[in-house]
């Protein structure tokens, strides 16, 4: 055998065979799920603003489909729970945002350093005092820098004003992801090295959020402005340890309770004034079932068995659009990899029959759009698809809008 490609394939097979010793897929999956889920949660939160226009569109679509013509459309508040901390909308002139068709504004023209990042002064007290609606907190995390571009191995945070002023407020490791911005308290909370950290933007002081022996991840805000945090054993399993509710800035939680009796691998979201646990995989009659769990702040749990028409295969939970409903995408057969053949259903939390809705192909992918094209970001997720968001991307940027408590 003298074919180079064949020799390389054989070598890879040889190396792969040798890699089977001591491999524990469950442990590896736990670690990767946990970290990827944390990153996605943050991104889903910070990109929520960009998805609102489309959500409003679908909210209206769903409303009509359900036969509520003539009644008000829930529109831009598709989730009654407030699980996505939607800010007062930044003014159009202040924060460029995509149109419903997904057009991304031109990048800003500001001086940049060799790594492509904005050259920005450190934030000062006078600037912090001006922060209000229209301001954003942006995170830059490195993509794959082109040849010859200095490699930057950290994550950088910038404060951006409505008139496009920009100030650097802090740096963290390359793995860091911001979770929550408390502008009134000048605090940024970000996740790094399996812990949440509170950075005081005024003093620069950094300290772990809550008990440093646990990893806390921000879930969202309750309607009364209190924050809901999930806690996990640091460096341990993906399994949830407990739930804590904090008044912003308080050092002790208002209340906390251990992991409720629900399935282990679930996604959490705030649902009105309580929580909802939805299995994060294997949804649907043909797989793990159709149960979800409402978890109340007194620790009580109510299981809801949702109804799907027969014949559907694997389902995935997508969003909450109308009160008392969930939206799932389901494949038409039992082959979970056939993602292109799916239908979208609105399920009723009271167990009533599901309603199919016509959603444009790749609609859900458009949630990936960025709301603002920040200076220094050469490419970001623009469209559905695989290749568009690959390489070369010098920086990924995400943003948290100003949101008063």
């Amino acid at each position: 055998m003298n074919d180079l490609a064949a020799l390389l394939r054989a070598e890879m097979a040889h190396e792969a065979t040798g890699s089977r010793d001591g491999f524990d897929p469950a442990a590896l999956l736990d670690t990767i799920r946990r970290k990827a889920r944390g990153k996605r949660r943050v991104r889903a939160t910070v990109q929520a603003f960009g998805g609102l226009a489309l959500l409003a569109l679908t909210g209206g679509l769903a409303w009509l489909t359900l036969g509520h013509q003539g009644e008000p459309v829930p529109g831009a508040s598709p989730n009654p729970s407030g699980s996505i901390p939607v800010s007062p909308s930044p003014s159009p002139s202040a924060t460029p945002s995509p149109s419903a068709s997904g057009t991304i504004p031109e990048p800003w023209d500001v001086p940049r350093d060799d790594a492509g990042l904005p050259i920005a002064p450190q934030v000062d007290d006078a600037t912090l005092a001006q922060v209000g609606p229209g301001w954003i907190l942006a995170e830059y995390t490195s993509g794959a820098p082109p040849e010859g571009t200095p490699s930057v191995d950290d994550t950088r945070f910038f404060l951006v004003s409505p008139d496009r002023g920009i100030w650097e407020v802090g740096r963290a490791s390359a793995e860091a992801d911001m979770q929550l911005w408390r502008p009134e308290r000048h605090e940024l909370i970000y996740w790094d090295s399996d812990l949440s950290w509170v950075l005081n933007l005024a003093s620069g002081e950094l300290e772990p959020f809550a008990d440093a022996s646990d990893n806390y991840e921000f879930l969202g805000m309750l309607p009364d402005g209190r924050e809901v945090w999930l806690s996990f054993d640091t460096h341990q399993s993906v399994a949830l340890k407990g739930i804590a509710v904090y008044t912003p800035g308080a050092t002790e939680p208002d209340l906390q309770f251990p992991r409720p009796s629900v399935r282990t691998n679930v996604n959490w979201r705030i649902y009105d004034d309580h929580l909802l646990a939805i299995p994060d995989a294997n949804l649907g009659d043909a797989y793990g079932g159709t149960s979800v769990w409402e978890v109340y702040l007194d620790g009580s749990v109510v299981e809801r068995v949702l109804t799907l028409p027969p014949g559907l295969g694997y389902c995935a939970d997508e969003w909450t659009i109308l009160p008392g409903t969930l939206v799932w995408n389901c494949s038409a057969n039992n082959e979970s990899e056939h993602y292109t053949e799916y239908s979208t259903w609105i399920l009723s939390m009271d167990g009533g029959s599901a309603t199919e809705v016509d959603v444009p192909l790749n609609f859900w992918d458009h949630q990936n759009q960025v709301a603002t094209r920040l200076p220094g970001v050469d490419v970001d997720v623009l469209e559905a698809g695989f290749w568009e968001d690959t390489f070369p991307v010098r920086w990924f940027a995400f943003e948290l809008p100003y949101s008063a408590p």
């Binding site: 190396e15 792969a16 990767i32 944390g38 040849e147 994060d280 993602y339 695989f386």
Partner: protein, 181 residues
């Protein structure tokens, strides 16, 4: 769609050994390979992306592995330069990951003689069937640099392994559907 966790599970349970094998061919070090695979999986599945199936997802992960491997080599190179600048020494200043391995096969030994960039280019080209342009995009290199790395690497591997690969003859056409950015 957001159905990423079953896909992750499928990639990890069914394809992890191959990914690790792929990474080990690059790093020549088991621990580094494990770290690289984990990093690539988190990066791949930690951002919202659409993969129609596990094969496409695995392909993406492999590109991230190669890219991050090169990033790591850039960083190591910068650190070595910094050490030299301050007059410090390190255990093996010439070593990329490639000189640390014990080579159990001829192919492994031959790969170890390539520079990290040459190795990454060869693997993306001959294992993943990427075109020169696609390799350049994946690794953040210029097309010209990739051509040079592939050509040099092929010549060396032909000499060491007795193969008759031809870098120009073996060029693949772009397979991207929408054109890379």
């Amino acid at each position: 769609m957001a159905q990423w966790e079953p896909l992750l599970e499928e990639v990890v349970t069914a394809r992890h050994h191959d990914l690790l094998g792929y990474a080990q061919m690059l790093t020549r070090d088991r621990q580094e390979a494990e770290d690289l695979v984990q990093t690539a999986l988190i990066e791949t599945f930690g951002k919202p992306r659409s993969f129609p199936n596990a094969i496409v997802a695995e392909t993406y992960v492999r590109k991230v592995i190669a890219s991050r491997f090169i990033d790591g080599c850039r960083k190591a190179s910068a650190e070595r330069r910094a050490l030299r600048k301050v007059g410090a020494t390190e255990a093996d200043p010439a070593a990329g990951p490639h000189l640390r391995a014990e080579h159990s096969t001829d192919v492994g030994a031959a790969l170890a003689q390539l520079s990290p960039r040459e190795r990454a280019c060869i693997m993306l080209r001959y294992l993943d069937h990427l075109s020169t342009h696609e390799v350049a995009q994946a690794l953040g290199l210029s097309d010209g640099a990739v051509k040079r790395y592939v050509s040099d690497a092929v010549a060396r591997l032909n000499g060491l392994l007795g193969t008759d690969a031809d870098a120009e003859r073996d060029e693949w056409s772009d397979v991207t559907t929408g054109g890379a950015p």
